[in-house]
Amino acid sequence: MGESQGLSALLQKKRADIITRWAGILVDSYPSGAHEFLSNKKNRFANPVGYTIAKEIAAMVDGLINRQDIDSFSSSLDKIMRIRTVQDFKPSEALAFVYQLKGVIRECLDESLSDAEVRAGLEELDAFTDALGLLAFDIYVGCKEQLYQLRVDEVKRNTYMLVKRAKMLVEGPEGDQGSRNLV
């Protein structure tokens, strides 16, 4: 990211607010009966989704404040997207929260928006957010692809001995080695 120190400091000041709102957007994307449950971020084992949202959103906001480069966001984004990929969301719904960061930051920085330096910083941040969105998209597609791969692998594993026997019948005992790769 670029140079706007002023914005970083402002973000730092509003850190808690940004985290709450951004995480809130994620929680709001779930059905209404589940909000309280998901907002309770302390229960790592009883509530992994809420815990992950809270932890990784905070990590990403810190990343923004400290102006880390985009690669350092991929682990947090992966944790969140990995969950959202297997939940009942359309791709756009699964990803929307990344872009909603723009709105969150504007809401939190309301008073300072007239400041030219802040506005310049914001533009950079918007571009960065777009890049994050693309990264999230890659992760989403990666997870989906993995799911298909897992389906194929599992079917193969479930019939492992059948395949092995079939190979044996066709190719003789030597054909055996190859099927080990299924493991």
């Binding site: 209404s32 009966g33 909000h35 309280e36 302390k42 229960n43 790592r44």
Partner: protein, 332 residues
């Protein structure tokens, strides 16, 4: 909240009914004698019918939910109360359930506080207030026996004495009165504040809460604020118990309100979730021993089903079995 509004209005209407019925048009006999008898009849008949109705359905399978180590080899410590195998152990398990709400107590939630250390947080509110409410309710119910008995049995007086130990004012405040009110208020608040619980609540979950709050409030008003003549109330109660009802003159209308709400509760009871009082004793996941492999459980309607016996199977596969050198019963 929308689902709580109607029950609230309903209970208000129920409070107003005796105020008009007794206060304005003096139907003392109706509210003092007829309604209580009808309510008692409905309660006992309804309760018994419900339990008998449950009882007429068999328990085809013995399916306790086991929550601890089974009894197997001698060097594995058997968890007798969480996984009972004898009748006595089942009674022990049921005792913990009914008296201490054992299962509800399991509701602990691990929390991570500052770092990776896991703390088991005190998220036992439901257990605590439910227990408080039920115990207070039970003791209050028990204390009421002093109105229906003459002479009053020693235990009742004793419980009464203990309950009113704290002489904060005259008449002494019963601890259970406070406990009941606190317990049920918290259960109510939990229902409206915790969105998850609010989401799954039905109007019929709010109704008994409001009703019992109504009973408790009118009861306490009667004792601490708008005093009624307790001698006359006892006269009425005894006469009701002796089936020769006589309504003494001059009992305050607040008493009739209290009594009416109790009657409504009694009439509502057998047809509602309050039947969990009976159901908790009849729940096959709790009241059966996990001794299935030791003693055979009988299913009275064990169904006749179409099987695929070995002989048929062998007939279908005989050639392949013989080819593969697998032993068969009949060669051809």
């Amino acid at each position: 909240m929308d689902r709580a509004a109607l029950p609230f209005v309903a209970v208000i209407a129920l409070v107003i009914t005796p105020l008009i019925g007794v206060g304005a048009i003096s139907l003392h006999y109706l509210f003092g004698v007829i309604v209580p008898y009808v309510a008692a009849l409905i309660f006992f008949a309804g309760f018994i019918m419900k339990v008998v109705n449950w009882g007429t359905s068999p328990v085809p399978f013995r399916i306790p939910t086991t929550c601890g180590q089974q009894k197997s080899l001698p060097w594995f410590k058997h968890s007798k109360l969480e996984n009972p195998v004898t009748g006595i152990q089942v009674i022990g398990r049921m005792f913990l359930e009914v008296v201490f709400f054992r299962s509800l107590f399991r509701n602990l939630k691990p929390e991570i506080r500052g770092g990776p250390r896991i703390v088991y947080g005190p998220t036992k509110w439901l257990w605590f207030f439910a227990l408080m409410f039920h115990w207070c309710f039970f003791i209050i119910f028990f204390r009421h026996l002093r109105l229906f008995t003459e002479p009053v049995p020693g235990v009742v007086t004793f419980v009464d004495r203990i309950d009113s130990m704290f002489q904060i004012c005259i008449p002494p405040i019963y601890l259970t009165d406070l406990g009941l009110l606190l317990g049920i208020t918290c259960l109510f608040l939990r229902r409206v504040i915790v969105p998850q619980v609010r989401y799954l609540s039905l109007p019929s979950d709010y109704f008994p809460l409001f009703l019992i709050i109504g009973i408790a409030v009118t009861g306490m008003l009667m004792r601490y604020v708008i005093r009624v003549d307790i001698i006359k109330v006892k006269e009425l109660a005894l006469s009701l118990a002796a089936f020769s009802p006589k309504v003494p003159q001059g009992i305050g209308v607040i008493f009739y309100t209290h009594l009416f709400l109790v009657c409504v509760l009694a009439m509502y009871f057998p047809f509602s979730k309050l039947m969990h009082l009976g159901g908790v004793f009849m729940s096959p996941t709790r009241n059966l021993a996990n001794n299935n492999r030791i003693v055979r459980h009988i299913n009275p309607w064990n169904p006749k089903v179409k099987l695929h016996p070995y002989e048929e199977w062998e007939d279908e596969f005989r050639d392949k079995l013989l080819d593969a050198g697998i032993p068969v019963e009949k060669k051809g």
